[in-house]
Structures are given as structure tokens and as C-alpha cells.
Symmetry: C2
Subunit: 214 residues, 2 copies
Amino acid sequence: MNISPKKISDHQLEDQEISINHQKLIDATIETIAKRGLGDTTIAQVAKKAMVSQGYANFRFKSKENLLLSSLKFLSDEYKNSWQRIFEDNNLDPVGRVIKIIENDFSGKIANRNKIAVWVSFYSEVKFRPSYLSICQKQDEIYSSQMEKLIKEVNILSNQSFLTSREISETYLSMVDGLWQRILFDPKMYSHVFCKDLIKKYFRNIYADEKRFV
Amino acid sequence: MNISPKKISDHQLEDQEISINHQKLIDATIETIAKRGLGDTTIAQVAKKAMVSQGYANFRFKSKENLLLSSLKFLSDEYKNSWQRIFEDNNLDPVGRVIKIIENDFSGKIANRNKIAVWVSFYSEVKFRPSYLSICQKQDEIYSSQMEKLIKEVNILSNQSFLTSREISETYLSMVDGLWQRILFDPKMYSHVFCKDLIKKYFRNIYADEKRFV
DNA sequence: TTTTGTATTGAATAATCATTCAATATGAGT
DNA sequence: ACTCATATTGAATGATTATTCAATACAAAA
């Protein structure tokens, strides 16, 4: 039996698998939302940017709604992968992990103005589209609980007991959301360095002995 | 010369003055955005809710864009008035003022899910509509600088010098934005009490001697 | 009552856009 | 070379919606 590699054409891929065009359309959707806003994003523009016909974009995703949903899912997974890698990295101690988390949340890949514009566009529809809400919420719940567990470890190691791990992680998460939003308004003032330093200073204040929070 | 009060009909009002219909339309716009989202808000729906004809809504505000802008301006002014009253209240000492500010930011009038949904809708368009940006930004700049000055007073009174007033006020402002956004996702978990307590705990940690941060 | 200027209506218009689908291209298997 | 299944096109369709405007209601003044 010949097991040499065969060329696989698109039509042989299952629905769940990702074809070139599938990903091209998702990328184009994100770029279009970032450039023009969710309200002014049309299938025609996305298709043009992805260099496929308008009809094809609709055919491939069944509906515009579904294309948007898939794009949100993609963004959401991209973010999740980035922080999951940090939680799974066994070479890190708790404080080192917190620092990596902060750096990830304000890395160029995650916290750039285009991506934030897309996130906020979807956030703004969360109240009216349960499907958006469930994607955003499920991810956030896991992140929250992982974060709280991590802070609990740091609390124990540093004998910090005035603030609970829940309080510290909720403060962290709300600050991140707030700072992202502010990056959208004024990216110059809210530079990545500014945001990271602000958050590190917060931790430095709590864990006075821990010199790694710069 | 007769100076007895005259009935003033709408057409005698200047552009800048507010007629009944003007405000009815703005209220209806905010309600419609809160219920259906900015993208699904049509002049027809707003006009229906305000109980005027569709043509009139357009005539009165010249364009949909202008109606939306006026509604954002209204929300923005409402918020500004609420915190300006606190900054101008001479009966308050610095810590009392901070507490009032926190309570205002999470009062039912300001931090309810409908209003937040409207805010976030506009935020999400800020990158694409400079007119939205300038309304939001101008307001925020004043609030920021007032807040920083206030924190500086508290820092001095309490001999706190590790965190600068800028750092504390920026942390506060980003937490408020982040928590508002989270209220949108999960209003049960992020209750007003939860949000206020979280923020007060932040201040309590900084100003350990100040018993008023509950 | 009649006139006159403004307020308000609601139907018509024109533009935009998601969706459909018949037609065509592509490329693997025979 | 031919067949056949799938991929892709792009023009047509129908729905939605902001905007316009001629027609009407209204209310104050004469």
C-alpha cells in the first residue's frame, strides 16, 4: 500500500477542518471590522479583501452572521491559546507566571488597537446576541478561575492575606478590560509599557517583598 | 409694556434649546439602542417609540447620525453633571469625596445594564467616528485630572507615597471601565455592591488607616 | 372667520446589502 | 480525452432603511 503524501484538494476537507479560503475570509473579516467597524462591514468588502467572490463568502459560511461568529471564535481561541501556554509552562514559578500573563495581555499580538476595536465591537453586541455572549463568557470564566488559583499561590508564598485571591484577580481582570478600552481611545497615552507598569505597580504594592514586579 | 408670561410654542425655540419632542427623541434613541443595539436601531423604531412620525425625526435632527450624536452628548452630559456635583460639594473632605465618586460610578442611574450597553455601543465606534471620540475624550480628560488632584490630597493627608496620585487614579478609572463592561456580561455576579466593595478594598489596602473605605 | 407661518405627517425614493442560484471553472479518476 | 463531482463566480432578487417632500394639521394673529 502506497502511503506517500497525496495532494489534498479543498473539497475533500470536512466542514470542521480549515481550508485556505476559510481562514482567508476570517482574516479579512477581522481586518475589515478593525478598519471600518462592525456596522459598516459588508460581505462584499470582506470578500474583496479575501479575493473571493461575494457569493462564495456567503456560500462558504452559510450567512454573514455565521462568518462573524466564526471570526469571534477565532479571536477568542487565539487569545485562549496564548494564556493557556503560560499556565501550562512548568518552568515558571507563580510570580514568574503572573508576570508572563501581564506581558501577554499587553503584547503587540493581543493588545493592539485593531484587535481591541474588533473585541469591543463584539462586546457591544453581547447583550443582543446570546451566541456572542457565550463565546466571550466561556473563555472568561476559565481565565478568571485559573487566575484566581494562581494568585492564591502567590498569596501563600508571600504571606499576603489582607486581599483575597478573588479580589486581586478580579481587580486585575477589570483593569485589563479597562486599559484595553482606553488603548482604543488614546493609544499614545496608554502605551503597552504604561499599562504593564501600572499593573506591575499594583502587584508591587501588594507584594512589597517581591522585587520582580519592577 | 406687557411682561406677563407668554406661551412659547416650539417653533420659537432656538436650535440649542430643548423642545419636548427633541428630548422625547433622544430618550427613545437611548432606549432603542439599549434594547436592540446600535446596529439594529432605525429611525422608524425610534420615531415610533417617541410617538412622532418617521419623517419628523429626520427633519428635527437633520440626519440619523446627528440624532445619535445628540444622544451620546446627552448621556455624556448626564454623567458629567453627576460627578461634577460631587467635586463642587464643599461639605466633603477628600476621602468623603472619593467615596461619593465610587458610589456615583456604581449608582443605579449610571451603571445600569441599559446605559452601559449604550456606552459600549458608542465606544465601539470611536475608532471610526472622530465626532464620537471627541465627545467621550473631552469628558474623560476632565474627570481624570480632577480625580488625580483629589487623590493627591488623600495621599498627602494619609502620608501615602509609594503609589503616585496618577497611578492610583489611572488604576481607579481603568477598573471602573472594566467593571462596567463586566456588568454587561454578567450583571448578577458584578452587582453594584460587589463592584463598590472591590474598589473600596483597593483603597483600603493603600490607605490602611482610613476606616471609611469599609 | 380668514390668513399665515410653522409643525408634523406619511408615502415615495433611492441606496445599500445579504442572499440565492444558474452558469462556469477546475481537477481528479477512468 | 472524457466524465463527474465539487468549487467558485457574479448577476439578479428582495428586503431594509435613511432621506425627501408635497400635503395637511394646527395655532396664533388679524
